[in-house]
């Protein structure tokens, strides 16, 4: 019996660090995720002024929303709408790729809601974010 106990303890000792490592981090270094990250990083400079003016806000669903179109000069609206559409395409793809990159495509929605919370948490003061009840609030 003692031998079994030792064996079992040894087995657990050998395997648990592997399991712990697997659970500790999500894979985010795939080429697809890297490309989306770069694309979003490059777009950010163009979007930032509109975050600050309140035209754009960080929505509760992990997307970027045109919150106040009237805050965008008419001549820029089309460009901004295009940027927002591109950004949201990248964001959706990012959530999907993170779920897929970790071999759990069904995690996509949870990845999205995790991101939604983190975008809002990390938003600069003065930016607009959407509350869980759908209302908008300035940070």
């Amino acid at each position: 019996m003692n031998r079994f106990t030792t064996f079992f303890a040894l087995l657990i000792a050998l395997i648990s660090p592997i399991a712990a490592t697997a659970a500790a981090d999500l894979e985010i270094n795939t080429p697809a995720i890297g490309a989306l990250k770069n694309s979003m990083q490059q777009r950010h400079g163009a979007l930032a002024p509109y975050y600050a003016s309140g035209a754009l806000g960080l929505a509760r669903d992990g997307m970027l929303a045109v919150r106040e179109a009237s805050a965008i000069p008419l001549s820029e609206r089309q460009k901004v709408n295009g940027l927002v559409a591109e950004e949201n395409r990248d964001r959706s793809a990012l959530y999907r790729e993170i779920a897929r990159g970790n071999s759990h495509p069904e995690w996509e929605d949870e990845v999205r809601s995790t991101f939604a919370g983190r975008w809002i948490d990390k938003a600069q003061s003065g930016w607009w974010v959407q509350m869980p009840n759908g209302s908008w609030s300035k940070k």
Partner: protein, 65 residues
Amino acid sequence: MRAFSSRNLLLLALAGTLASCVTINIYFPAAAAEKAADKIIDEVWQLKKSEQKPADPAASQPTLK
């Protein structure tokens, strides 16, 4: 007889360990996801510029002297 039951127990232990590994992966790792999200958002919004710039020159020099 003793050797036989020892093998059985070992198999049981292996099955149990495998099952626990699968269990870990079925549930969404919320903490890990937050960490991953923070890392990506920091890069997209360039919130931690100091983290990206240095390190490289030092890291690329393998010699100790």
